[in-house]
């Protein structure tokens, strides 16, 4: 029998063994085939003649010991990064969390709880639909505008609305131009929309000007055949875009001028809510609150759970008592505790964290206890104990490293469930006050508007919430998979 080098070198995986089997089987089928002329069957098999040489005996090779450069964390990370979806979600999550902290410091952000009023009419800007910028429309060069008294070095309040003609007041149409007519009343001349809302009274041949006209409704007269207002309210233009006359009452645009609904550059990207708060800032501020609750609950759960789990698992005399205590706590429905605690205590972030931690550590403790019981009496631990290792060291060095990955999994899953509990508590009306924005709060407020045109107030918080919870869930599960040594290749 020929000793094959491939066997000696220890490569027993399919690829390198195959030539041997192939060669052997080929020989069995055609035992008389000459070595010089390979049979047709053999052509498909890559042959390396060196594989068939006799291996030399080497004493130093016989003395060599096996060595594997296996590292647990390295393999875990490698297995994790082989899963593209999880890696993608991890990136999304990191960017998202980073952004929630950066967002308040970005230029042009509205403070989250600021109620934004219109600077002229002093009313809240409620339910403004999502816009990327505050620009409502753009006026071409040379558009005449009137100015509204507004003291601001940068912005001017402008409109091209000159007067409102009351109902059934007669005016003269001097020019007919389809959708618009030029009209004169007293000394003023301006443009009136000839549309369905105004219902101007027109003669049989409206092109035969001038003629008397009127409407059964109040009609607006504009300086130019375009409505440069936001539902009759002044718009804002930069003073540098305008040629303002001496009295400061009239102005003409000197270039293409964007007209803003507000004297701010940034729009409401997610719109505003009923009381005129910027939903974009609210969502990120709420995300901060919810993430804070999630992380705190996960940390406290891990801290208390690990501590008690280790004591429970390691001290045999305590096991029976602790198991009974566990049975009692585990049998109280979590919902009841959550509701009771958040009702008895004042609603605040601390209350929520406390109420959630009160029961959630039990699961972690039981989990740690089970793991500890399994590995407590493994031989290496017995040996360690016999050698006189102190208990804290046994726990820190021998037991805990085994649990790190599973503990991290549970923490990753605790965050979305804490966020979900927060939404639940807010839903039943015992959550945070509206003055503390949180995702649960925003969803609960938006819920009432789902079937209206303001449904964006529910959609944006739910998207952010779902991205966060799904990411944590997927990352946690993938990490648990990759932390399992069975999946390390």
């Amino acid at each position: 029998m020929i000793r094959l080098r491939s066997l000696v070198s220890g490569k027993l995986e399919g690829v390198s063994v195959r030539p041997i089997i192939g060669a052997a089987s080929a020989r069995m089928i055609q035992p008389d085939a000459a070595a010089g002329s390979p049979p047709a069957l053999d052509t498909a098999i890559p042959r390396d003649p060196s594989l068939f040489e006799e291996a030399a005996f080497d004493r130093s090779n016989a003395e060599r010991i096996g060595y594997s450069n296996y590292s647990y964390w390295g393999s875990t990370l490698r297995a994790f990064f082989k899963r593209p979806v999880a890696v993608l979600l991890l990136c999304v999550l990191v960017v998202l969390i980073a952004f929630t902290f950066i967002q308040p410091y970005l230029p042009g952000q509205y403070p989250a709880t600021l109620i934004i009023n219109h600077p002229l009419i002093k009313r809240q800007l409620s339910n403004v639909p999502p816009t990327l910028s505050t620009v409502l429309t753009t006026a071409p060069t040379g558009t005449p505008l009137t100015m509204h008294p507004y003291n601001d070095p940068e912005w001017a309040a402008v409109t091209n609305l000159t007067r409102v003609i009351q109902r059934r007041v007669k005016f003269t149409v001097v020019e007919y131009a389809g959708d618009w007519v030029r009209a004169a009343i007293d000394d003023d001349e301006g443009w009136i929309a000839n549309d369905f809302a105004n219902k101007l009274k027109l003669p049989d041949d409206p092109t035969a000007v001038p003629y008397e006209s009127q409407s059964n409704f109040p009609v607006n007269m504009f300086l130019s055949p375009h409505d440069y207002t936001s539902a009759g309210v002044e718009l804002f233009a930069r003073r540098t875009d305008l040629d303002i006359d001496g009295g400061g009452e009239r102005a003409v645009t000197i270039r293409e001028t964007p007209l803003h609904i507000l004297p701010y550059q940034n729009g409401f990207w997610f719109g505003t809510n009923l009381i005129g708060q910027d939903l974009w800032s609210l969502v990120w501020s709420g995300t901060r609150t919810s993430l804070f609750i999630g992380f705190m609950v996960a940390l406290v759960e891990a801290g208390i759970g690990i501590l008690i789990g280790i004591i429970w698992g390691y001290v045999r005399r305590l096991d029976r008592i602790m198991t009974e205590v566990y049975n009692v706590i585990d049998n109280i429905p979590t919902t009841i505790v959550l509701i009771l605690i958040s009702y008895i205590m004042r609603p605040s972030v601390k209350t929520l964290i406390f109420a959630m931690c009160l029961t959630s550590w039990v699961g972690m403790a039981r989990f740690v206890r089970n793991q500890i019981v399994i590995i407590r009496d493994r031989d290496y631990n017995l040996a360690s104990r016999c050698l006189g290792t102190k208990l804290p060291r046994v726990i820190m060095r021998n037991l805990l490293p085994y649990l790190v990955s599973v503990i991290m999994l549970r923490m990753a899953l605790a965050i979305p469930s804490a966020i979900g509990s927060e939404v639940f508590i807010t839903y039943i009306g015992l959550g945070l006050p509206v003055s503390v924005p949180s995702l649960g709060n925003l969803i609960n407020e938006g819920r009432k508007l789902l079937s209206t045109s303001q449904s964006y107030q529910l959609v944006f918080p739910t998207i952010v919430l779902s991205v966060i919870t799904i990411s944590f869930y997927m990352i946690g599960n993938t990490f648990a998979d990759s932390a399992d040594p069975k999946n390390h290749r």
Binding site: V373, P416, I428, I443, R447
Partner: protein
């Protein structure tokens, strides 16, 4: 066996006693204002006499003893604030059947959907190309588990009622309005059944007896149905009694969204109105469900799987 059940029941009673006492003491920490609708306008004497009338001024252990002895005589007490003076038993008798109907239907639906989904997911593991079901099921399970229930219930209600052209709220006369709440309630447990069944079945599929059966030439379908499924379903059996019993408690979300007059919102409602007798009774009911469900689940497992017995318990090292 009988001894084991007796011991379990004894432990359950002790557990219940502790839970009830804890909740009893807890609800008595609530502010006095909560017991009155118009506390600010009331005279201090009236407040005092009403508190005495409700028995709230006695020492807490006297109250507890009174409550427990009444309970033993089968007297659940009367509601103090929810609907004043009405026996709690009668309130519950009106509410429980509604929740029970919805709960049982949705549980049947979720078993009907979840079990085939779990089997399909596990089956697609045995093939090398068609992993479609596994992917579909995983997306569904991740979605249901990760997104808070409130969110998808809201969307299902809004878009479902629009698609079915029905009212958003439940109405007893229109059977079409029952569909969405039942579907909503069953989504969570469908994902749960599918997830665990898939996991248990995949675990079983990797065992040697499956390889042996396949080597003997047993058809794949038969291996799954006769061997894998039966073994994988045993651990799931344990949770069935609990979920069956929990249908009594209703779903807080769904019942309040569709305004179904069931048990769902009752607990939240009575806690906010500080109706202590009702809070206590409800807590007892919920805890009983948990304890009894667990016991029944264990017994059912013994009944179904002859390999499991309580007679000799494997001792931990």
């Amino acid at each position: 066996m009988a001894r084991y059940i007796f011991k379990r029941l004894l432990a359950a009673i002790v557990t219940l006693l502790i839970i009830v006492s804890a909740v009893f003491i807890l609800v008595r920490q609530m502010p006095i204002e909560g017991y009155f609708d118009n506390f600010d306008k009331l005279d201090a004497n009236i407040v005092r006499s009403r508190l005495v009338q409700m028995g709230l001024t006695d020492p807490i252990f006297t109250q507890l003893r009174r409550f427990l002895s009444n309970l033993l005589r089968g007297d659940l007490g009367t509601s103090a604030r929810y609907s004043v003076g009405v026996p709690i038993g009668r309130i519950l008798l009106n509410k429980i059947p509604v929740s029970l109907q919805f709960g049982l239907t949705s549980m049947a639906l979720s078993l009907l959907l979840g079990v085939p989904l779990g089997v399909a997911m596990a089956r697609s593991q045995t093939r090398y190309k068609a992993r479609l079901w596994d992917a579909v099921g995983t997306v569904f399970i991740v979605f249901i588990n990760a997104v808070p229930a409130a969110v998808y219930h809201i969307y299902l209600q809004a878009y479902g009622s629009r698609a079915l052209h029905t009212s958003m709220l439940f109405s007893r006369e229109q059977p079409l309005t029952w569909l969405l709440p039942i579907l909503s309630m069953s989504l969570g447990s469908t994902a749960y059944y599918a997830m665990w069944l898939r996991r248990y079945m995949v675990d079983e599929l990797n065992k040697d007896y499956v390889a042996l059966a396949q080597a003997k030439g047993v058809v794949n379908r038969r291996v799954l149905a006769r061997h894998v499924f039966r073994n994988a379903f045993v651990p799931m059996i344990q949770y069935l009694p609990t979920s069956l019993l929990y249908t009594v408690s209703g779903s807080i979300y769904v019942e309040s969204l569709y305004s179904i007059p069931g048990m769902g919102g009752l607990l939240v409602d009575v806690i906010r109105r500080q109706d202590n007798p009702m809070v206590q009774i409800l807590v007892i009911i919920y805890s009983c469900i948990g304890v009894v469900g667990l016991l029944l689940g264990d017994l059912l497992m013994v009944a179904i799987d002859p390999r499991i017995s309580f007679a000799k318990r494997a001792g931990a090292r």
